[in-house]
Structures are given as structure tokens and as C-alpha cells.
């Protein structure tokens, strides 16, 4: 069928089963937006900033398990996508970005809104295409989706010059992908499985260290089977949160810098550490040389480059996690049936640590405590279909600690890149993916201002989200570090809790604003916000000096983590 390149882009997206894309039009992408106006089955969500569009596509991808699609114009439109692309790269989120480019004869001439976006994004994409011939357009988009979602998921970029979008050609969507160099592993070596299963089964102190790859690999059911088959304790990383039901008796928290002490003790004193789609990030390991010193490491990953990157793997298992975990579950179950005992004393030990070192904070005093906000949110949403997104900082860590994620893809956060401002647009994208779910963005006041404009998108596009703003008036995590490691010299961290007036701002954006200063108000506001079916900002004015504990100081061994310390200073509460 004859059509323009712009129309062809949409036919490609339709052929890929794309339901929604997030973007903003501009000069170099106009022929494609004209094609959108002429008709497509793909819903277009108009963001207010391309960064927002990118994070929405990420939120959509993480909530749905499908590829997220963001679309933007050339130059600044494209550069505004760089942060979401980098974020998707670090967290392995499948993302296809389509950008307009200046006309092919103008490329390289510093034309208006020209920038070399394929060059700029080279280190943070799995692959990218600059389509200079319309005949290459459909194969490039087909390949883009294939690369984004196969192997280890991640971002790709297709840059399409304006004249390519305008050229009329005979369109046909290719049925196959011609990528001779792209061969992610599809099978798991049975010998490696057998060896791993034996090591896991006979371990006296095993731990399953579950990362985001388990969610990306749709391997959560198989993980559940393995954990139950072997009676194996599970810790889930920030990115893996939700891969294993957190109220399950085999779930033992979250490892790393602000994970509970019992989780870190379990990880660091285990004899067999089974890393599943996890990558030994420095925020998880603390001082690498001191991390889990006695453990035999079994590392399962679809990306061979993660094996032995940071911690040498004793038993590498490369391949899709769903089939690897399914095989492991079967083998481990066989060992148990043969009489190899479950590690009950070890489970008792971890439970004892959980009793000895619980998450603690001091709820007394005039201020509403941030931890209490998260506790109440957990209590009020328990058992409901809720998807949580977060920004980055103290509130994110408290969300990890106090919210229990029971289902896969119900906790969406920026783990690797640590992108402040991720929460609100990711929530909008998650709502587009899961309209029936209540989508809550737990945000900090620092993060909020970075992407608050997307509240407009939530309102106008009828993708309502509830923002629970943990507002301490500070860039809280930086403040905490300054107080702990820089002799308390506060350097440019004070934001003020009431400028802007967040509730008024929410109203200005067409949403509902509420201010909460104590627990009673908190309960009322949360209960209302969760049932209103509108975009709501609950501005929770919390104790500005509360710090996030426990904590592994940078460079320290995980076992030396600091436990809760009451704030050394106090800040008076007005009224």
C-alpha cells in the first residue's frame, strides 16, 4: 500500500500492537503527527515535557510488561528524552523512542533544531537507527521493538528525518527481523541448572537475591515455585520489589543501603547466594570486597555480560530466567523429595534477626513522621489493586521499607539512574497501562517540582493519579548526607515546605489538593484521595529532620550498617 513515511510509522506501531504512545509534537515530527490526525488505533497521550513523555512510556512499560513508546521532535525534543533513555538503560526498561530529525540534506549543517541524537544517546541505548531512506523505515521500527524487548530489555531510538516522514512509498511491514548480530540467549544449559540446583538444595544458609530482571523476564511465577519448592528465603532489590509477594513467609525484605538489617545480614552471611536477574549494584553490596564473603555465588541472568562483572560467579546460569527458574524449581523439588532437608534453622535465624533489628522510628513528638505516612498508606491500600511509583530519595527508601508489594509490576521506581522527578510521569504512564488500578505516586517535595507539569497530563488525559507528597521542605537525602558525613554543613538543601503551595498548585493544574499535618488529617485525606478517582496531591508536612535508617554508609561493609538514630537536631513545628 502506498503511503507516507509518517503514516508508515503508525502502521508499524499498530502492527506491533502498541496501544498508547506518549509524546509532544514539533517541527521535525509534524508529518507523523499529521498522520496521527488522519487516524490511528494508537492512543496518543500529550505530555507537557518530553522528559515526562519518556518517563510515562517507562511507567507504562513497567506496569504492563509491554514496550513503552515515546515520540518527540528533533533537537530539544530529542535531548529532553535523554534522561528517560538513560533511566531505561540503567533499569532495563523496554522503550522505543521515535524522534523527528531535520531533513536529510540539512543533517550536519547545524540546521534549526538539529542535534545528533543518535550520537548523544550512543552509550545509553541497546541500538539506534537514523533512517535516511524511507525503505529502511519499517525494518528499523520492526527491529527496534525486537531489540527493546528481547534478551535484557532496554531502550532503543529511531531517528527519522522529516523528508523521510513525507516520502510516499510502497509500505509493507516486514515479517522477520534481519539482525544477524543480535542473538540473545534463548536456552539454558542443563548442566549449569543441575549444578546450581544441587548447590541450592544442599545449602545450609541459602538466599535468593532477586532483582528487576525477574520482572522483566516474566519469571515471577517460576521464582515463587523455586522458593516454595526449596523453602528458600527471598530478598528482593528495589528493582525486584513485587517479584515475590512481600507478605509471604519466605520474603525477608530488601537488601542494600537502606534495606532492613535482617535482609542485609541474611545476604551477607549466607553460604549460597542465588542472584536472579540482579547485578550486584553498589547500593546493594556496600563495600564489594566485604560483600557476602563466605557465599558460593550462583548468578542467573539473560545478559552474559552481567556474569562476573562485579562479583565472580561460581555457577553461572545464562539464559531466560523463566525457563531457568522453572528447571531449577523442578530439580530442587526433586532434591527435597530425596530427603535433602530445607534450611529451617537458617530461616529461624533470619526471623530472629528480624525480631532483633526491626525497622524503627520514633513516632512521638509534634511532627507527623514520614515513616508513618507510608505505614498508613500501606494499611489503607493493603489488599487493593494498587500500583506505586516513586521519586528518588528518602521517601523512595521509606516506600521500599513500609509498602508491601504483593504483585509483580506494582512498584515502579528509578533504581539505577536515580532520576528525581520520575514518579509523577511514571504514574501517569502506569495508569494508562492499568486503568483499573489505583495508581499512587509517593513523591518527595524535591522530586515533585522536577516534573509536576505532568499533573496536567494526568488531569486532561483522564489518567488520575494520587500523589502522596512526603514534604519535609528539604532535599532530604542530601540533607541527611550533609548532616552525617559533612559535619552538618547544610548546603543548598532547604526548599521550604510551603513554597509553592502544593495543594493550590494541584488545584491550578485541575486536580485536588489536600494538606496534612497530623495523623488524623492524614487518614482522612488518604481515604478520600484513594476513592476520588481524580488526580489528587496529598501534601504531607512531615518532620524535616527525620533521617532514613538503617543505612550502610558509602564504602562500608553491609554488615556494619547503622541502625535507627533519633534526629540530633530538632526543628520547631509552626502552629
Amino acid at each position: 500500500m502506498k503511503m507516507t513515511g509518517g503514516d508508515a510509522i503508525l502502521r508499524c506501531l499498530e502492527a506491533e500492537g502498541v496501544e498508547v504512545m506518549f509524546g509532544i509534537p514539533g517541527g521535525a515530527i509534524m508529518p507523523t503527527y499529521d498522520a496521527i490526525a488522519r487516524g490511528t488505533t494508537v492512543r496518543h497521550v500529550l505530555a507537557r515535557h518530553e522528559q515526562g513523555a519518556g518517563h510515562m512510556a517507562q511507567g507504562y512499560a513497567r506496569a504492563s510488561g509491554r514496550v513503552g513508546v515515546a515520540i518527540a521532535t528533533s533537537g530539544p525534543g530529542a535531548t529532553n528524552l535523554v534522561t528517560p533513555i538513560a533511566d531505561a538503560w540503567m533499569d532495563s526498561t523496554p522503550l522505543v523512542c521515535i524522534t523527528g530529525q531535520v531533513r536529510t540534506p540539512l543533517i550536519g549543517t547545524d540546521a534549526f533544531q538539529e542535534c545528533d541524537i543518535t550520537g548523544i544517546t550512543l552509550p545509553i541505548v541497546k541500538h539506534s537507527w537514523l533512517v535516511q531512506d524511507v525503505e529502511d523505515l519499517a525494518p528499523a521500527i520492526k527491529a527496534a521493538f525486537h531489540v527493546a524487548r528481547t534478551g535484557r530489555c532496554g531502550p532503543v531510538l529511531v531517528d527519522v528525518p522529516r523528508d523521510v516522514q513525507e516520502t510516499v512509498f510502497e509500505f509493507a511491514y516486514p515479517e522477520t527481523v534481519d539482525l544477524p548480530g543480535w542473538r540473545p540467549p534463548t536456552k539454558v544449559h542443563p548442566l549449569q541448572i543441575r549444578e546450581a540446583a544441587r548447590a541450592i538444595a544442599v545449602a545450609r544458609k541459602p538466599v535468593l537475591y532477586v532483582g528487576g530482571g525477574t520482572l522483566n523476564g516474566d519469571a515471577c511465577e517460576e521464582l515463587f515455585e523455586l522458593a516454595e519448592a526449596g523453602t528458600l528465603p527471598v530478598v528482593t532489590t528495589l528493582m525486584g520489589k513485587g517479584a515475590f509477594p512481600e507478605s509471604h513467609e519466605l520474603h525477608f525484605g530488601w537488601p542494600g543501603m537502606h534495606g532492613p538489617k535482617w535482609s542485609n545480614l541474611a545476604m551477607n552471611t549466607c553460604d549460597v547466594l542465588v542472584a536472579i536477574g540482579a547485578r550486584f549494584d553498589d547500593r546493594v553490596t556496600g563495600k564489594l570486597a566485604a560483600f557476602a564473603p563466605g557465599a558460593t555465588v550462583i548468578h542467573l541472568d539473560v545478559d552474559p555480560a552481567e556474569i562476573s562483572k562485579l562479583r565472580s560467579a561460581d555457577i553461572p546460569v545464562v539464559g531466560p530466567l523463566s525457563s531457568a527458574l522453572a528447571s531449577l524449581a523442578t530439580e530442587v523439588a526433586r532434591h527435597r523429595a530425596d530427603g535433602v532437608p530445607a534450611p529451617e534453622p537458617w530461616l529461624d535465624q533470619i526471623r530472629a534477626w528480624r525480631e532483633e533489628f526491626p525497622l524503627r522510628y520514633d513516632a512521638n513528638g509534634a511532627w507527623l513522621k514520614p515513616q508513618r505516612v507510608l505505614e498508613r498508606l500501606q494499611e489503607l491500600t493493603a489488599g487493593t489493586d494498587v500500583v506505586v511509583t516513586t521519586g528518588v530519595g528518602q521517601h523512595q527508601m521509606w516506600a521500599m521499607q513500609y509498602l508491601l508489594s504483593e504483585r509483580p509490576r506494582s512498584f515502579i521506581t528509578s533504581g539505577g539512574l536515580g532520576t528525581m522527578g520520575y514518579g509523577i510521569p511514571a504514574a501517569v504512564g502506569a495508569k494508562a497501562a492499568r486503568p483499573e488500578a489505583t495508581v499512587v505516586c509517593v513523591d518527595g517535595d524535591g522530586c515533585f517540582q522536577m516534573t509536576a507539569q505532568e499533573l496536567v497530563t494526568a488531569v486532561v488525559e483522564e489518567l488520575p493519579i494520587v500523589v502522596v507528597l512526603v514534604n519535609n521542605g528539604y532535599l532530604g537525602m542530601v540533607t541527611q548526607w550533609q548532616d552525617m558525613f559533612f559535619d552538618g554543613r547544610r548546603s543548598h538543601v532547604h526548599l521550604t515546605p510551603d513554597v509553592p503551595n502544593y495543594a493550590l498548585l494541584a488545584e491550578a493544574y485541575g486536580g485536588v489538593g489536600m494538606v496534612v499535618t497530623n495523623e488524623e488529617e492524614l487518614d482522612d485525606a488518604l481515604a478520600q484521595a484513594l476513592t476520588l478517582q481524580r488526580t489528587v496531591v496529598v501534601d504531607c508536612r512531615v518532620d524535616p529532620v527525620e533521617q532514613c535508617f538503617p543505612m550502610i554508609p558509602t564504602g562500608a561493609a553491609a554488615v556494619d550498617m547503622l541502625e535507627y538514630q533519633p534526629p540530633a537536631v530538632e526543628e520547631a513545628k509552626a502552629s
Binding site: T118, G119, L122, P123, K126, H127, S128, L130, V147, G151, L179, P180, G181, W182, P185, D303, P304, A305, I307, S308, K309, P316, V318
Partner: protein
């Protein structure tokens, strides 16, 4: 320790750029680099010389292998591969010492490419070690310009046919 990697890639725009960007980003250093066509149309070979530990080498191999345009990564193991390089040098050669230089150079297999009043241009193709020796030989005369192509290589024909060494994790 130095290692030679032979990387075959689809001859697509940016393929080399993706490899060098990956090296830069991950903090790996490239000692030498040679790029050219192969026996297969649309396939180029990039030969990289790197100075790193065995662990880093495996990381490099795996990271290169993930690049979409990369078809194959193999290490050219010393003793199991023939490696060659081309050196072109302009050497200062006043009349009284010219004959001595040219004779010695030709005895080593070098060719005389150009002759000027003050200098001569010589080329030598050979193993990188032979080139090192030739370079040293030219030094006393005064090396004006010297370029080397970076090494290229193929597995030995005489060596028993064996599977090129691949990384353990994807074997």
C-alpha cells in the same frame, strides 16, 4: 597483559563508533585498532589490541558481543594466530649514510617507496615484533614520520582446526 581481539561486524553506519564508545564508557583502553573489509560482502573486521587483565578481557568480549551490529568476537591467541602489521616510515638519510640504511632495511624485507634529497620512505609488513625491531633500527638515522596500521590477524592454518576461544558464559 596485551590481547588481540578480532571482531567481525555488519558494515553499517556507526558500527565502529558503537564499539569505541563502549570502550570509552566502560573505561577500557585501546592500544591499536585496524578496520577493513573481509571475504564477506557487507562484513568488516575490526582488530583491537587491548592491554588488560583476563577478567577485563572477558568483560570487553561480552560487552562487544552485546552490540547489535557485532557478528563475532574472537581472541587471536598468541601462537595460534598469524598477526601482521604495516609500518611506513620516513627516515632522514643524508647521502653518506643512505646506502647503509637502505641495504640494511632491504635485508630485513623492507621496501623503498620514495627517495628524496634528505630522506627516504620505507615500508615493512611483518609481525608487530619485527616492526618494533625495524623501528629501533631506523631511530639512529632520525625518524621523521612513522605510522603503523595496527595489527590484523587470522587463526593459523597450520594449527589444528579448533573452535575459537569464546567466553565461558555463552559457550
Amino acid at each position: 597483559m596485551k590481547h588481540t581481539l578480532s571482531v567481525t561486524v555488519e558494515d553499517k553506519p556507526g558500527a565502529l563508533n558503537r564499539i569505541t564508545t563502549m570502550f570509552a564508557r566502560r573505561g577500557f583502553n585501546i592500544d591499536s585498532l585496524a578496520v577493513g573489509p573481509t571475504e564477506r560482502e557487507g562484513v568488516s573486521c575490526i582488530t583491537l589490541r587491548v592491554d588488560c587483565s583476563r577478567h577485563t578481557l572477558e568483560q570487553i568480549e561480552k560487552q562487544i558481543h552485546k552490540l547489535v551490529n557485532v557478528l563475532r568476537v574472537t581472541e587471536l591467541v598468541p601462537g595460534e594466530a598469524v598477526e601482521r602489521e604495516l609500518l611506513v616510515v620516513r627516515v632522514s638519510a643524508p647521502g653518506d649514510r643512505r646506502a647503509e640504511l637502505v641495504t640494511t632495511a632491504q635485508a630485513l624485507g623492507a621496501r623503498l617507496l620514495d627517495v628524496g634529497r634528505e630522506s627516504v620512505v620505507l615500508e615493512l609488513a611483518g609481525s608487530p615484533e619485527e616492526l618494533d625491531g625495524f623501528h629501533q633500527l631506523c631511530e639512529p638515522y632520525g625518524v621523521v614520520d612513522l605510522v603503523r596500521t595496527g595489527r590484523v590477524g587470522v587463526p593459523r592454518a597450520s594449527a589444528e582446526r579448533r573452535v575459537p576461544r569464546r567466553l565461558a558464559a555463552i559457550r
